[in-house]
């Protein structure tokens, strides 16, 4: 048996490894430590936002009052934020007909349906994880004090980005469409329906199609829409186009869809209530 350095305990080395791997297994299999991670994340976001809003920004403002260029920069930033908000509102206005036509919402109040939009700002988005790994998440803070529940649609000026998961009263997590664990029901113009999963690659989702179930009609660059099945996403919203068709087996193909909405384009998002 290998000799260990002085004062090292063989039992402690092995026991710690076994405990850590058990914790990893439990978290991987059952997501058991999600509340701990949420608590850490929301606390760190709170500290960051608090220090930025009440310490860094006042300090910066007092300094920028000396320099006019600083003020101009802030104004430029505000204008950009306003423009982003306006673009989201424009997106809603231009798609309102389609959104109201969605038969999977409450049919009796179809005409009265007034889409409410809550603007929200990104407080934490691990771009590195978004580009390297399967987990595509971001944390948003609503601009108005409103309790945002889970399973609400999040949009940006380019289209649907993902859906919400409630973390606490003032913070929510967004599962992006490209997240590996995310599913969105889709369709094309030829009544082809499918449940697309996130591919784990930025702006890409995929759909495995069994060709034995009948003729399927799809081509590259064909537009893909949300089908509204499942009741979370509105029906008929263009979400992207077919990017690649891969043959998995002679009777099964994988369609890879390039999404329209890039979550990196703006800091502002809208949540449809």
């Amino acid at each position: 048996m290998a000799r260990l350095p002085d004062r090292s305990s063989r039992f402690m080395l092995i026991a710690t490894f076994v405990i850590c791997s058990s914790i990893l297994f439990v978290d991987f299999r059952f997501d058991a430590f999600k509340p701990v991670q949420n608590f850490y994340k929301s606390s760190s976001i709170f500290i960051r936002v608090f220090s930025s809003e009440y310490i860094a920004r006042p300090l910066y403002r007092s300094l920028s009052s000396i320099r006019d260029t600083g003020r101009a920069k802030e104004e430029n930033q505000n204008l950009k934020e306003e423009l982003n908000k306006q673009l989201i509102e424009n997106y809603i206005i231009s798609n309102k007909k389609i959104l109201n036509r969605n038969i999977f919402f409450d049919v009796t109040t179809l005409e009265k349906l007034d889409l409410k939009l809550i603007p929200a700002k990104v407080v934490d988005f691990d771009v590195n994880q978004y580009r390297c790994c399967d987990k595509h998440r971001m944390f948003l803070l609503p601009e108005v004090s409103s309790d945002i529940d889970s399973f609400k649609v999040v949009i940006n000026p380019e289209g649907i980005v993902g859906q919400t998961i409630k973390v606490n009263r003032s913070l929510f997590e967004v599962v992006l469409l490209s997240d590996k664990s995310h599913r969105i029901p889709i369709q094309n113009e030829n009544n082809f329906y499918c449940e697309a999963s996130g591919l784990g690659i930025p702006k890409k989702i995929f759909c495995d199609v069994d060709l034995t179930l009948g003729d399927k009609d799809f081509d590259l660059k064909q537009k893909i829409y949300s089908s509204g099945l499942g009741g979370i996403f509105p029906k008929g919203i263009e979400i992207g186009s077919i990017y690649e068709i891969q043959d998995l087996t002679p009777k099964e193909v994988r369609i890879i869809i390039d999404l329209n909405a890039d979550p990196l384009t703006s800091n502002y998002f809208g949540v449809l209530l």
């Binding site: 080395l13 991670q37 790994c133």
Partner: protein
């Protein structure tokens, strides 16, 4: 280990993890992954296995798991496994030259990157990243001892 040393090392590891994630943003296009945090832990453990024990590895691992928002226990498991391996082969590694140590820790890094890739990037696992990470770890580890000496010269680690 004193509390002040623990806090100091925790801050250093969090900063290194932050550095890694920032650098990886640019390197990921070239299929390269920066693993300074992991190599720094290997260096510290090899330098002082009595103080940098498996409990410390687990603690730092859990902190980094929370910081990076990955599966809870992923870094902790891999850190404790590396510390276990270094401890079990400590006297063998002591006989190695600097180049051999660098190559050994680079192989450890390959396993680290591969295992992490399987769990966090299941659908897009790329062997190229694992392969290239050997070379990136090799070059990074050439600077890690200098970085380590610079960072911890005031402590007795």
């Amino acid at each position: 280990m004193k509390l002040s040393e623990l806090v100091f090392l925790t801050v250093i590891f969090i900063l290194l993890s932050f550095f890694d994630s920032q650098v990886n943003l640019f390197l990921i296009d070239f299929f390269i992954v920066s693993n300074t945090t992991y190599l720094f832990l290997c260096y510290l453990c090899f330098r002082n296995p009595q103080k940098i024990n498996s409990l410390f590895g687990a603690y730092i691992g859990f902190i980094i798991d929370l910081h990076q928002n990955t599966f809870f226990g992923l870094n902790a498991t891999l850190f404790t496994l590396s510390i276990l391996l270094i401890n079990y082969n400590y006297f063998r590694l002591r006989m190695f030259s600097t180049l051999q140590i660098t190559a050994t820790f680079s192989f450890f890094t390959v396993f680290f990157v591969g295992f992490k890739g399987i769990l966090v990037s299941t659908m897009n696992f790329q062997y190229l990243i694992v392969f290239i990470s050997f070379f990136s770890a090799f070059f990074t580890y050439l600077f890690v001892p200098s970085l380590g000496k610079f960072l911890i010269k005031k402590t007795k680690l």
